[in-house]
Amino acid sequence: MLEKEGQVRIPAGCAISGFISRDGNRICGDKIVKSISYMHDRSNGLGGGFAGYGIYPEYKDQYAFHIFYDSNEARVETERFLDKHFDVVNLSRIPTRKHPNITNEPLIWRYFVNPLPTKLTESQLDEREFVAQCVININDKINGSYVFSSGKNMGVFKAVGYPEDVGEFYRLEEYAGYAWTAHGRYPTNTPGWWGGAHPFALLDYTIVHNGEISSYDANRRYIEMYGYKCNLLTDTEVITYIIDFLNRKQKLCLEDIAKIIAAPFWSEIDSDKYSESERQKLKYFRNVFSSLLITGPFSIILGFDGGLMALNDRLKLRSMVAAEKGDMVYLASEECAIRAICPVVDRIWSPRGGEPIIVKLNEKK
């Protein structure tokens, strides 16, 4: 019998795509659907998904939880948990349309919530840590319930299916955001579980990832020391937690995070490419966060509140292309996915392994 994602580690190949308007212009979701559809052959219909940023301006101060439920019982139990820890400002089913290629859908609900001040004070945690722990708790403890999106003014939409079908299913043309990412999945062995599709998200961090990292268990066993639970056994999950840990908890900037997870080789660090202080820092990172080095092929697009970051493994074992046009920056596994939505670009290039591309909204600079 095939085991479900999380019971077994499933390698997967993939397609990723993303773009951002640096001026913060809100772009309709159908554009990202079109982009990813051009890489149809890089997926196999066993998973597709999207993340949109700036899509909930009317609820921008609430955490938006998107949750899959296997059953109504799971929903009731989860809502009891939510009521106990949060002030639920709004709840509804996420609007979907019937699609011939998307079947066996779970119950899909959306909640806009604020942490209850009394609970928050009692927990002695900061607000984001409180929310993160609640999400990890639900996913770990409540059977049949899975929070797959939990940030503010952003949302993840994912399913088992080809990404373009998933986009239609979730009616993404009805959303608009300043940044979007997309993922088409090519798992090598899975019965298809909706939670296993990508992007993977925690708070406002989302990751779409193409690759199969060879450092997985070293990374997982390290990060689990810090309260994370890698229930899905996927690369994307552990990478998301690593970035959350380094960025939110260790307060390191994205540039430094890239130098930890795709650290320069010693031969490079010891060369005269770097200043002495930079060299000291790189050495410090490789010593202190040695277990967070990610090896093996990966290309990721990280979405966060106010920007995107793209990063390749240090040998660049996965394709990734970047392009610019006006205030727009495009990132994708293949050039065709960019040309499909922006035929004429100002500049197009292939970022080097380990060199991050970090794009932030202009006004947030």
Binding site: P11, S214, R221, K281, V288, S290, L315
Partner: protein
């Protein structure tokens, strides 16, 4: 004359057609097995004295010698083996404790040989170490809990003292006294050239070797032999020896015969006296006492050196390691029950302690469960026999490995397990000047360098096959391991799946 109950363990076979009576074997054998009988004009052997060290076999210019097991056997008995019977005879004759040397040779499971490594196929690429960078550098020591920043927002890069190793291999503690000056010199020079560390053991540090201090770990054991200010300050790190895999629960024992002038000066004890270190440190009867010694040593060396605490792998090793991780120590060294020794009571060597593989797996997991794995590095020993053992140890969770026996093999040791006699024909475990000089440190150090280089190459090949290009991504990466022929409980303790899963 009393009856001789013993049968020689070995037969010395001499091919008379090949033997040219050059008597090299007679000159080389400190056990006096071979002698030339002028009246008979032939070489005569006394097999009873032979320890099967293979020195004569290697030295014989015509290949005339073979040492084979004595085919003479006591009557078969599955319960009373010949060895057990012989030991009873020996004790009936002498009334003494049986002594042995080198690691436990019994047929216990070797878990390294029941663990298989992974390799990449299709879904991710193997990496070719001939064409791509492949990194084996490691740091040993405490990692800070949180990054701290300077006022200008830059990252503070100071850490507590660490050891930087070019490859995750170090030479285990072997004292000057138990092994020869030339063996020590070989280890010290090899460690220096390799960018790794060797360990003084509990015998102090000879003045001539202070020059290799930055690649030396100085040990503080229960006898405190040779410990003083200069010694502590010379080493790159200080190791507190709480126990040894070959003899958990007892102290060291160096016979007075090995304590000659230089050894006596280095150990700071009178010549010819037995050097018997106590079973416990008499200032450490509990974990809080250990903490005081760790901090005293740090205080004495101005917090400039990492402190290692070495323990034998015993049943509750995980709980002990957890205590050590909270004691202020920077590194825990765990020595498995197959670890070597220059001399240990046979019953203890063969029956006390647990395999390093299981000890390592449970220590690493316990420290992670408690969230304190970064408080300490974990070094394992006893016994690491090959580069694949190193790779498996790191994937189970070790930061680095100590090698002792393998290093001695590189110097010529043939594991005859007779170190306690002080008559090592290879010039390693002896202080007899005529024997010591057989080990040329210029050659010895080069052989050690060769060995570690070879292993480093092999580690890189295996890592590359797994698609890993830096050893830190291998550490604790248990998904890269599968058990073969292991039961559920063993797999659970090792934290790995069975082959085929």
């Amino acid at each position: 004359m009393a009856l001789n109950y013993f049968q020689p363990l070995f037969d010395v076979i001499r091919d008379k057609d090949r033997c040219i009576k050059c008597q090299a074997c007679a000159r080389q054998c400190a056990n006096e097995v071979h002698r030339y009988d002028g009246d008979l004009d032939m070489m005569i052997s006394d097999s009873q004295q032979c320890v099967d060290c293979q020195r004569c076999v290697c030295i014989c210019p015509t290949g005339a010698l073979k040492i084979v097991d004595n085919p003479n056997k006591f009557r078969n008995n599955s319960n009373w083996s010949q060895q057990i019977m012989t030991e009873v005879y020996k004790q009936a004759e002498t009334g003494g404790v049986l002594l042995s040397a080198m690691g436990n040779p019994k047929e216990y499971p070797v878990y390294w040989d029941k663990i298989l490594l992974n390799a990449s196929q299709v879904t991710n690429p193997p990496i070719d170490p001939l064409r791509e960078p492949m990194e084996t550098k490691v740091f040993l020591g405490k990692k800070p809990k949180n990054v701290s920043f300077n006022e200008d927002g830059s990252v503070k890069t100071e850490t507590t003292p660490t050891l930087e190793l070019s490859t995750p291999i170090m030479f285990s503690a072997m004292s000057y006294g138990s092994i020869s000056r030339n063996a020590h010199e070989s280890l010290a020079r090899a460690a220096t050239e390799l960018g790794i560390f060797y360990n003084t053991g509990e015998g102090g540090l000879h003045k001539d070797f202070y020059q290799y201090g930055s690649n030396t770990i100085v040990q503080v054991a229960s006898g405190r032999f040779g410990v003083f200010k200069d010694y502590l300050e010379t080493g790159a790190a200080i190791e507190i020896k709480m126990g040894q895999g070959a003899k958990p629960g007892i102290g060291g024992h160096l016979p007075g015969a090995k304590i000659l002038e230089d050894v006596s000066r280095t150990r700071m004890i009178p010549m010819g006296t037995d050097a018997i270190s106590p079973a416990p440190h008499h200032d450490i009867y509990s974990i809080e006492d250990l903490r005081q010694l760790v901090l005293s040593l740090k205080e004495a060396t101005e917090y400039k050196k990492p402190v290692i605490v070495k323990i034998a792998a015993v049943h509750n090793v995980a709980a002990i390691a957890s205590g050590i991780a909270r004691s202020g120590a920077d590194i825990i060294a765990i020595d498995g029950y197959r670890g070597g020794t220059g001399a240990a009571p046979t019953r203890i060597r063969d029956n006390v302690g647990i395999p390093i593989e299981l000890a390592l797996a449970s220590v690493d997991q316990r420290l992670r469960d408690e969230g304190i794995r970064n408080e300490v590095s974990v070094v394992v020993a006893g016994s690491i026999r090959s580069s694949s053992d190193v790779v498996k140890a790191i994937a189970l969770g070790a930061d680095a490995c100590y090698i002792g026996t393998a290093a001695l093999l590189a110097l010529g040791c043939h594991l005859c397990r007779s170190c306690q006699t002080g008559k090592c024909n290879w010039g390693i475990a002896t202080q007899r000047p005529d024997l010591v000089k057989r080990l040329n440190p210029n050659i010895g150090y080069q052989r050690l360098v060769n060995l570690v280089h070879a292993w480093d190459h092999e580690i890189k090949e295996m890592m590359g096959g797994m698609g890993i290009n830096s050893v830190e991504a291998l550490r604790g990466n248990r998904l890269m391991l599968r058990g073969i022929g292991l039961n559920e409980k063993e797999l659970e303790i090792l934290g790995i799946q069975h082959a085929g899963q």
